[in-house]
Symmetry: C2
């Protein structure tokens, strides 16, 4: 375990924060300078007549009771509400030392960093599944990963900065980076089914940084790199552990902060078995929490971080609920303190309702898990890990249904399309295997034609080229669609979807450039 003091971290990463950081000094008006040393406080039970905080008996809400599912809903059970629920309470008060949040603090003004009880749980989550290789790391609660990433961009970047981004990516990062007036440079991605090679092209990255001045004359060297390394959006790729280690070392060499956005990291799926489509080892082999943590989850950049170089963005959106707008960032103490400062200039913290709901749900899940597994000496957080594992099992199940129906289709049998099967997440890449006579310079028009066919057939998808940093650079490799198996009420949705995709792809191959059925301009969709 590396020892890094706050001063060490400041020396290493101070040069990478925005030039505006120095202007962002927030001093509360209730703070006072140093009081005279010879002050003699007579009454230590200070009467608080300073801050404009309402007394909690004036809060209209006195208690929040939550019905919590024992298991995530299954695709096979079309009843959207479960009969098997337990109750979690958020009460007005909790006894001192309780792991739970209470309304008198959660509904009051509270520390922008997060409720102490939730901060405690976020540290347990990191320690259990993604523990860094150094001390002096910390966490800060945020109102969603969009907020985390926007604030990270504003903390690090300005008009003198460059951020590296995977060529295919969640495009909002480009918006946030530009909102901070910075420049985005794309990194080459290997969009391939080969799990050793998929993700960031290590040699291309090494070359880019070693020869930065030649590739990008006049541009400052990049300060940070944004990556979705596990269950990548949009491609579903997962960077291998070996290549991740190599990328980490390259970033150390060039003093680049790694922004690890990992919303899907807990949704690991076992390999799909065409011979046995419904195979789900989570269920059949009754995977336990320990197996899930040690054998199933992909090691993150954070878990290999010895230098405090990784800012890890986690969210409760995919494993609990997106509308909670609840997330957190883990990283070194220096950078987390800078992120916290951004809260003071903007949101001033995160909904106490969302925080208390999640906190108390996690504590109750933990206590139930410990009671059910008395011999494991399981840490409290294992209740939540167990929930995450069940959600991963359900995603595996959804993936199975979608893949089964898809592989039954003619277009797969005829090899007109192929899947890049994901090992994690909620997305799958459907590659269109272009006819030899199709010109790849027409990729946009070909994919637009397919999109129009899909729309006519009644199925939605995301065009790969919509999720690029630089169309000129990536368009010829953008011969794919992003599909998701996240949201469906029952398996039939995937069956109908597969049939419609099949019909649309067949039409593309029959009609494109031969007998087009609607008027598409030479550049595709306007």
């Amino acid at each position: 375990m590396t020892q890094l003091s706050y001063q060490d971290l400041e020396a290493l990463y101070g040069p990478l924060v925005s030039k505006y950081d120095g202007e962002r000094n927030f001093v509360s008006f209730t703070a006072v300078g140093e009081l005279p040393r010879d002050l003699k406080i007579k009454n230590k039970d200070t009467v608080w007549l300073a801050g404009g905080t309402p007394y909690e008996s004036m809060f209209p809400v006195q208690e929040v009771d939550l019905k919590i599912r024992e298991n995530p809903g299954s695709l096979d059970d079309t009843t959207p509400l479960s009969n098997k629920c337990s109750t979690t309470k958020v009460q007005m008060y909790e006894p001192q030392g309780s792991a739970k949040a209470c309304l008198s603090t959660a509904f009051q003004y509270h520390d922008a960093k997060g409720l102490p009880e939730l901060l405690n749980l976020t540290k347990q989550i990191i320690s259990r599944m993604n523990k860094p290789q150094y001390e002096n790391w910390d966490t800060v609660v945020t109102p969603g990963s969009s907020d985390s990433l926007s604030k990270i961009c504003q903390t690090l970047l300005d008009s003198d900065s460059v951020i590296l981004v995977e060529e295919f990516t969640y495009p909002n990062i480009v918006h946030w980076a530009k909102f901070a007036h910075s420049e985005v440079v794309r990194i080459k991605l290997n969009v391939t089914a080969d799990r050793k090679l998929q993700g960031i092209d290590v040699e291309a990255l090494r070359d880019l940084l070693a020869n930065w001045v030649e590739y990008h004359p006049g541009k400052p060297k990049p300060k940070c790199m944004y990556t979705i390394a596990t269950g990548h959006n949009p491609t579903g790729l997962t960077q291998s552990t070996e290549s991740r280690q190599a990328i980490y070392e390259i970033c150390c060499e060039h003093n680049i902060i790694i922004i690890e956005d990992d919303p899907y990291g807990y949704l690991n799926m076992t390999p799909y078995d065409q011979a046995n489509p419904m195979k789900n080892p989570y269920i059949e082999e009754s995977y336990g929490v320990e197996h899930y943590c040690k054998k199933i989850l992909s090691p993150s950049y954070m878990s290999m971080d010895t230098e405090g170089r990784v800012l890890r963005c986690e969210t409760f959106s995919k494993v609990a609920a997106p509308g909670l707008r609840l997330a957190f960032v883990a990283g070194n103490q220096f950078l987390i303190s800078k992120l916290l400062k951004m809260h003071y200039f903007t949101t001033r913290g995160t909904s106490g309702a969302s925080q208390a709901i999640v906190t108390n749900m996690l504590v109750d899940m933990g206590e139930q898990y410990q009671a059910q597994h008395p011999h494991e000496k399981a840490p409290l957080i294992d209740g939540w890990v167990n929930w995450c594992m069940k959600v991963a099992a359900e995603y595996t199940h959804r993936r199975n249904y979608m893949f089964m129906y898809m592989y039954e289709q003619n277009v797969f049998k005829k090899n007109l399309v192929s899947f890049i099967e994901p090992s994690c997440g909620m997305f799958v890449t459907l590659v269109i295997n272009f006819k030899p006579e199709w010109n790849i310079s027409e990729t946009k028009r070909i994919m637009d034609y397919l999109y129009c066919c899909l729309t006519e057939e009644g199925c939605s998808a995301v065009l790969g080229y919509k999720m690029v940093v630089d169309r000129d650079y990536s368009m010829e490799r953008a011969n794919f669609l992003r599909f998701t198996f996240a949201k469906a009420r029952d398996p039939n949705v995937f069956k109908i979807g597969a049939e419609r995709i099949n019909a649309a792809v067949e039409r593309l191959f029959e009609e494109y450039n031969v007998n087009e059925q609607f008027t598409l301009g030479p550049k595709g969709i306007i």
Copy 2:
């Protein structure tokens, strides 16, 4: 009612938005350009395989049940939990057309503008109590007024901009304005008990703007003015309707946007009666909702706005609970659309938990109120207005207790101090009537000496000079402390507080410059 089209509003206020606005174009990757017109959609029941949204049966929370107090807690009842509660539910589903929010949408990704059900209620709140004099106004939900104000600053201001701010103010506005790289210019405030004169000095404002070039040579003319016109923080002042109208007209003349921050506007208090300290007409005369709306509330800038010039910041912090981080902004459609855009670059909306809790609580309060007042034909929102009125009644009660104990003290009888009694809000200004021999150039040191005495005696307060824009300009008028009667468990808190304040002030007058009891430097607290 003035008719103003979006184009009219854009023409009037477009020139006042930040120079960065043009760069802030957020396009979702799921949006597509114009599809071919001759597209023939075969299946209109589109299978949704595009967006990464979990299906709601995987949300762990299935239902949220809230215990809602019938009445806000009273200072006389030291039991913090009420026996009289009703239950409000947030269920997974609501029937179509319901006024309530449900978890399947509130806990899902949802429109950054706010849940439709809550947006509907915010419009009812504005229409009932602060309806503008023009059409085409709108609202946007935010995660707290800090967020609203930070986003308003970033929407309007940049390094080429000036914002006007009252010389004494909630100092975070200075931080937010500086975060947007803009310059803050203070406006003179009359800190006086005279209710016709108190608040912004109208003639000083008129003079400042008419002779801007002389007063601030080289500076751009201000784009906007931030004001807390009702129950001002820190002074408790309320701008009279007449002076408000004059200020509004000055702002029209100079095309200045009025940012009306009104967290305390519903906490109106009846005048304090020294002969009958516990007098509370809210209770004794059983004020009704109609009386409260028409006779008690101070008319806001928004309610006199004919041109879409006012951005009104409301919050649920003071009348519900601050930890919800739930607020909204009302204003003209053009500016609200610009604010909404800021959500996409940062928080991407507000906690669905907070939104659903408040929405359903307000709907239930409304339905109960309507059932209890069958002959009033009351609008749904009157249940919430009734709650606000009850909270105002309780603040009147708290004010009564604090004032009763304070006016009993020697320092009041000897006229060493005086109150500027507020008509609204949670703050009161305690003016220190300096000895004739004290030099006002020593104001800071005198107030610091008092602050140290207060600390020794065991009472917290906020120093007036901590809440200024420009110490050089305002220090000589900063001979006051801000106290609040917002937070106390029982009346005894105010009694002890008053005694300690008395002791501290007596010591100031006995010890200052004569026999100082601790070592305070020549400039006061470091």
